[in-house]
Symmetry: C2
Subunit: 336 residues, 2 copies
């Protein structure tokens, strides 16, 4: 059917070994042979079969990216960063979304065991630290965006605690004294750490820490609206709200509008991630930028450099990339 290296060899009147050498740019092959092979390749329209090659080389040049289903637009930006660098290095990306229960995640991980892929990047995971540690002994694994406490696995993240601290401090700097928090519950490591940063900023400014100013739920869109309603129906509602994701912030802004509260005037709302939608919203939403491209590039770069190294030489640390506060229309100074 398809034209193989054998056909090229026959056409060029050389052995398959020589053709292979030309293909792989190995040394010790004559100019003449290179010429003949290239002509034959062009004539036959040959393109090497990856299955044969990879089977022999015991590698596939494919990296699997698994993203949690919840919110695609943010993860896609990271995947884009991964892809850009990976492509350059001759790797391809398979991306899959797991559902929240983690069953699909398990199914996908089979590709690692299969050797269908050389490594995996998890943009959030339902695996425990212990499991990850075990896996990483035999396979190349990396976490991105969402670390797992106690996992000794290559991890690339922003400093969630510090980022949240900076964001809340910025709100305080604008005069806000009553600042609410909408986030997921503490089982999500990133949300927990962001809440920690929120608390530190509040405490440091000498403001009152109020349990009723914190709405802990999930990362789901709906929780943003629910949280906002909860906070804004208090007797003494906040004047600014920090949300652990842009999606929650947008949902909250919607609910506020519905309640007749104008965000960017009567109420300030801040998000986290800097998804594309932030600039498209009315009002545009203030947020903490995660440098998606950098996150993606960094994690894939380090993962690739781990390939083939014996376990003890692999880089397994946590790498922090810088965040950035971005102020837009959804946040305004408090006018007395």
């Amino acid at each position: 059917m398809s034209v193989t290296i054998k056909d090229v060899a026959k056409e060029a009147d050389l052995s398959v070994a020589t053709v292979s050498r030309v293909l792989n740019h190995s040394a010790n092959v004559s100019e003449e042979a290179v010429g003949k092979v290239n002509i034959a390749i062009a004539k036959l329209g040959y393109s090497p079969n990856f299955l044969g090659r990879n089977l022999r080389k015991r590698e596939t040049n494919v990296i699997l990216v698994i993203m949690p289903s919840s919110e695609h637009t943010f993860y896609m930006k990271i995947v884009a960063g991964i892809q850009k660098y990976a492509q350059q290095q001759g790797y391809d990306i398979i991306c899959a979304s797991s559902n929240s229960t983690g069953e699909i995640e398990v199914r996908q991980m089979n590709m690692l065991f299969n050797r269908t892929v050389d490594g995996v990047i998890l943009l959030g995971t339902s695996y425990q630290a212990e499991t990850l540690n075990k896996l990483s002994q035999h396979y190349d694994i990396a976490l991105c965006c969402e670390g797992v406490e106690g996992a000794n696995v290559l991890t690339v993240v922003v400093d969630d605690e510090l980022a949240a601290y900076d964001a809340v401090k910025a709100l305080i700097g604008l005069g806000h004294k009553k600042i609410g928090f909408i986030g997921a519950n503490d089982t999500a490591a990133s949300s927990r750490r962001r809440r920690k940063g929120y608390l530190r900023a509040i405490a440091e400014a000498g403001l009152e820490i109020r349990a009723d100013y914190m709405s802990l739920g999930t990362f789901e869109y709906e929780h943003g609206a629910a949280g906002l309603e909860e906070l804004m129906t208090l007797a003494d509602p906040p004047t600014a709200i920090f949300c652990v994701s842009d999606l929650l912030a947008i949902s909250a802004i919607h609910k506020a509008d519905e309640m007749g509260i104008t965000v960017g005037k009567e109420l300030s709302v801040m998000g986290f991630d800097n998804i594309t939608m932030c600039e498209m919203m009315l009002p545009t939403v203030s947020t903490v930028e995660q440098p998606c491209s950098v996150l993606g590039e960094t994690v894939v770069k380090k993962l690739i450099s781990n390939f083939g190294k014996p376990g003890e030489e692999k880089e397994n640390g946590i790498f922090i990339v810088p965040h950035k506060i971005i102020m837009r229309d959804s946040v305004r100074p408090l006018d007395k």
Copy 2:
């Protein structure tokens, strides 16, 4: 390193052929053998190597999806639909974004020639009909969302002309008589057909067709704002605008806000696609829904069923899936 079928055979005290038979659930294998093999597999933690299997079977169970870079959130919904069905059938998806020039597209198509993937789904392409026809003789290719005129290739799309016609007719039904159009130029087949539908609805209602009410540019976000400004600074501006994509509509809504025009009151704006963002915007945006999930499922289903069939038996037609008009806050009846 990894445990192979040979190890399992040794452990189970059987030949590799029998193990393979158990793995593939073939007939003519004793209960006893099945048991022994399963125990051995569990004990060794074996998982069959896909490279070996696929090399032998001359198939990979992987489908490549190529999407134009421009607008991810819409395409991701389609990919999700594809993935859902493909997964069920034991296929995996590789997704790649091409840039607008098409050079990456060419690079990615190599995976077809390589036999790295069994087939390709193009969510928009820069290939000419002729090229596609040639390719489809040797490989399994499908188009989704964006057809190519004259290409005799499996295509799954909504009826763009009719969908646009329906949308504009809905605006007319609400009393609008001055309706603008923001779209890409006619080289994009879908935009061209949508403009045709727009024109038909206008003509059929006996309204005036005005060249200055049509802003033809690109699918890029920026063109929405530019188009809106163009239309709304006319001496006699439209009261409603139909955009060929939600992104253009959102961009237009932004610009309107900036110009002090309230969309959903003074001006009605309608989009196309029904991306998630439509419901998140303020105002929520009216649109024509493309049934992403159905589009994805349909195209991958038909593609898979083409696999292995001789050329003349392959399904190569155009399949239309139904669209739906969704009215939200960005559109209001014209008050006299």
